[in-house]
Amino acid sequence: MSVITAPAAAPTERPVSRLESLLRARELGIALAILLVFGLTTLNNHAFARVASIQQLLIGAALIALLGVGETLVIVTRNVDLSVGSIVGLSAYIVGDLFKYHHNMPVVLGFVVAIAVGAAIGAINGFVTTVARVPSLVVTLAMLYIVRGVDGLIVNGKTIDPGSIPKAFTAVGYRTLFGIPWLAIIVAVVVATAGYAMRSFRSSRDLYGIGSNPDAAVLAGIPAGRRVFTAFLISGSLAGLAGALFLALHAQIDVSGGTGYELAVVAAVVVGGVAIFGGSGTVLGAALGAVLLNTINQALVASRISAFWNGAIAGGLLLVAIAFDRWLSLRVARSLQSAEGAHRDL
């Protein structure tokens, strides 16, 4: 008997640490990929490494990264939010319209309104999904159409011109602090806060539990409905915030604002290592995924490759990213299995 007991611990230790390091390497891997793209492009075109250029990389990725945070919360619970792009468009227009007619409205109020608009739509998404227990893919696809339609009715061919937006508001879109764009700082704060919360609070760990094993979540007494609702609420709110930032960045908005963002966000999140069927992934990964995709986009232009190659390369990379992810998890599973085999053999 004692022959079997003793060695049980030893073989399980080694692969575990390897697994952990592999999992941790996910964010590191994306960061390395970003550096690789950046480095190669810089070799080709030194201007790519200028401060202004790097600032642009951050600004260009900021909105998708911000949306990626909310999307991660939702996807981790085994749901998806396709309405984010429409929310960006609607909230940006509503805030712009307010500024147009109340030019002296406090800037902060602009952000509050945008977030409120997003939160309201997020609440509808969450409510329908959790109370009627219907697939969120369908609910948020429907909301994509409805919100876009409502946006169109409100916009009705009008535009919000740069002159209507207070400078204090657009400043958020271009001012820098120690060379770092405010936009990037705001998004970084959101990512850091969400990343910290997702690691450190019981309620956010519940999100992982729900996505990882819904049945076990029920047995563990997790209030799944409430948590999923909250995830949609936050996703909507962040999309609303992204709308305000969109307006600040572009100083103009028409009906097309945010069109097609939903798929870009899902792509960034998936590249960032968030499992599309829930349970795992980090907001940092999602944000880095957004930075990577944006870096690639700008690198193509900067490398003087025809812009026509953008789409194909982005699509190809997305496929490579998820295939790599799969390969990684298979490898991890195999290494664990052979460790267990070894354990058995002893």
Partner: protein
């Protein structure tokens, strides 16, 4: 407490009321499809009450002509969704097929060879999706978001910024004239023909039964000797080739092609299939439901355009229909659950 009490014998008579089985096809018709018929009749009545011209045959030709490609793409997607997978690359495949056809035709290929090549591209593209999903084991939603970008990107590389025209008018006229002696658009006739085939395959062949089984319980299907992976691969190939065919039809109808033909249609196609009552989780749905959904969306679109309603309202209508299509079947259960909870807390 004697042992011969038949305590575990089910009294199945009352069970059919409690359980919501998908027994005979006619019983399924009593549910979602019958609601669709009512909506369709409502849409037609509404259209003709608002515009005296609405019920004239030309309008039916127009509806068929306008919906043709989307409707055709909805059929293989129905089968794909029946197995619990999804193909978001349909519209990009349509665009790629048109781009390949236009590219080759403008480079001096015969129109027939160019069309054949477009179909081959459809097969190849579908195979890429199928292999990545079934062989590599990647989630189809992620894979096809990737190929959505990839296929469109390749189309862009091939064709942008050109628009290819000059296709033989003998072929292009079939896109815009009805079948002689009728008011049926060619694409509508093709759709109806394919729908009959799809309906028979889905509802009356071993393959169709296999699709349902895969959608409901993939493992049980595999244990019954159904070649789950092989069927999935071929379904994606079918989806690719049919979408490529739709791309050819669209190119002929437009008598021209640019790389961005059909951009964004994927969500319309998905919405129609889901509105037709096909469950996003697979295993449930009928071809007749999808045909009805096509008719409703086409009729409403036509009626709203002719009444000169803002096009945004169409988006809202599609969104609301979609939402209702998932909420209603679950509505009763949700109400019961809420009542239960209230009672439990009381």
């Amino acid at each position: 407490m004697t042992s011969d009490l038949p305590t575990m014998t089910p009294v199945t008579h009352s069970h059919s009321v409690v359980e919501n089985g998908n027994g005979a096809p006619w019983r399924a018709l009593l549910r979602w499809e019958s609601a669709l018929v009512v909506v369709l009749i409502g849409a037609l009545v509404f259209g003709s009450s608002e515009s005296p011209n609405f019920l004239n045959p030309t309008n039916f030709f127009y509806i068929g002509m306008n919906m043709g490609e989307v409707a055709i793409m909805a059929l293989p997607l129905t089968l794909v969704i029946m197995t619990g997978e999804i193909d978001l690359s349909v519209a990009s495949m349509l665009g790629l097929s048109g781009a390949v056809m236009g590219y080759l035709f403008s480079n001096g290929w015969s129109i027939w060879l160019a069309m054949a090549a477009a179909l081959v591209v459809g097969v190849l593209g579908g195979a890429v999706n199928g292999l990545l999903v079934a062989k590599v084991g990647l989630p189809s939603i992620a894979v096809t978001i990737g190929t959505l970008a990839l296929f469109r990107g390749i189309a862009e590389i091939l064709l942008a910024p050109r628009t290819v025209t000059g296709f033989p008018s003998s072929l292009t006229t079939i896109g815009v004239v009805p079948i002689p002696g009728t008011q049926i658009a060619y694409s509508a006739a093709i759709f109806l023909g394919l729908a009959v085939v799809a309906g028979i395959v889905l509802h009356a062949t071993p393959l169709g039964r296999a699709l349902v089984a895969i959608g409901l319980q993939p493992e049980a299907a595999q244990f019954s000797g159904i070649r789950v992976n092989r069927i999935k691969i071929w379904l994606f190939v079918l989806s690719g080739v049919v979408c490529a065919f739709a791309g050819i039809l669209l190119t002929l109808k437009n008598a021209s092609v640019s790389y961005d033909a059909g951009t964004g249609l994927e969500l319309n196609v998905v919405a129609i299939v889901l509105f037709g009552g096909v469950s996003i989780f697979g295993g449930r749905g009928t071809v007749i439901g999808v045909v009805l959904a096509v008719a409703i969306v086409g009729a409403l679109q036509q009626a709203l355009t002719q009444m000169n309603v803002q096009p945004e309202v169409q988006n809202i209508v599609i969104g609301v229909l979609l939402l209702i299509s998932v909420v209603i079947p679950n509505g009763g259960e949700a109400i019961r659950r809420i009542r239960d909870r209230a009672r439990r807390h009381a």
